[in-house]
């Protein structure tokens, strides 16, 4: 299929959505012709989205690499001023929340709905604790008169952790919606695609932090 044909299809699907998409009476998760194909395509789509997410942070990583090489002393001093203990605690919390999401995905595949609920709750609570820690870190910096514009290190620090924080909030919202639908009994071992790709998103939040933590807090 040529590029024009694809573009035409996309425009058509935006202009006449009802013609392109099979009508969905109720969100039962089985509105594709073939559930297995739907499951695989949804996962592949999520991986493609995660690729764009990585490149969103890529710009910040590029800025970090260049300014670190240009002003090493500034990055040394800036990095030393960050709270390694709080950063480490947040790392442990986020990796633990990755485990709980992985268990939730495993549990829904076995129809253990109660375990799914507990694990999703724990994940959301972990995300909330992460956010509270970050709030204390930010307000402590502000109280010492350090703001995003103080120097290039803090600009990158606030931009990178801020964009990451935004992802934590979006992740909390996604997991919250999933949890609500779990309570409504929408998911089971035949239909868990949404939980699996929601989990993939949450793991990405963890992956980004795995790089941000040593680069910002430790490599001083």
């Amino acid at each position: 299929m040529g590029i024009f044909a694809i573009t035409g299809k996309i425009i058509k699907s935006i202009a006449y959505p009802s013609e392109m998409v099979p009508s969905i009476e109720e969100d039962d998760g089985h509105h594709h012709f073939d559930p297995v194909t739907e499951h695989e395509s949804a996962k592949l789509g999520m991986w493609l989205f995660l690729a764009t997410e990585l490149l969103l942070f890529g710009g910040l990583f590029a800025a970090y690499a260049i300014y670190r090489a240009k002003y090493p002393e500034m990055f040394m001093d800036g990095s030393k001023s960050l709270d390694v203990v709080l950063g480490s605690v947040n790392t442990v919390i986020l990796i633990f929340s990755s485990l709980t999401v992985a268990i939730a995905v495993k549990a829904i595949q076995e129809n253990r709905i109660r375990l799914v609920k507990v694990m999703l709750w724990v994940t959301i609570i972990c995300a909330a604790i992460f956010a509270v820690n970050k709030y204390f870190e930010y307000t402590y910096k502000f109280s010492k008169g350090i703001f995003p514009g103080t120097d290039i290190f803090y600009s990158i620090y606030f931009a990178a952790t801020g964009v990451h924080m935004l992802h934590v909030f979006i992740g909390m919202a996604v997991l919250g919606i999933l949890l609500r639908k779990v309570y409504k009994g929408k998911y089971n071992k035949e239909n868990y695609t949404a939980i699996e790709i929601g989990g993939l998103y949450w793991h990405l939040v963890d992956l980004i932090w795995i790089y941000l933590f040593p680069l910002l807090y430790l490599v001083g």
């Binding site: 710009g59 990796i95 633990f96 992985a102 995905v105 495993k106 989990g199 993939l200």
Partner: protein, 93 residues
């Protein structure tokens, strides 16, 4: 639909990640000079790899998903290396 590992193996993977986190913080207490960043990135990449391979089920995925998962790393490399080449090859900064 496929079934992924056991709960015990998931917890073992988490323990391994915790171990690597301790190594990350521990390694940062020593000054390796110019190797500081490469060592930190190396450990972080092992952790990221473990999360992607086990938690994100990459070990059960097909070739196409692997391409989707790995090609942005190449793009990231291009982004950073070409920007750096530009910035550091200028006569006037």
């Amino acid at each position: 639909m496929d079934n992924h590992g056991s709960y015990k193996s998931l917890i073992n993977i988490w323990l391994f990640l915790m171990f690597l986190t301790v190594i990350t913080v521990g390694a940062a207490q020593f000054d390796f000079g110019i190797l500081n960043v490469p060592i930190a990135l190396f450990i972080a990449s092992i952790k990221a790899g473990v999360v992607a391979y086990h938690f994100m089920h990459l070990k059960h995925e097909d070739g196409l998903t692997w391409i989707y998962a790995t090609y942005p790393i190449f793009l990231l490399f291009l982004l950073i290396s070409f920007t750096a080449t530009d910035m550091f090859s200028r006569v006037i900064n």
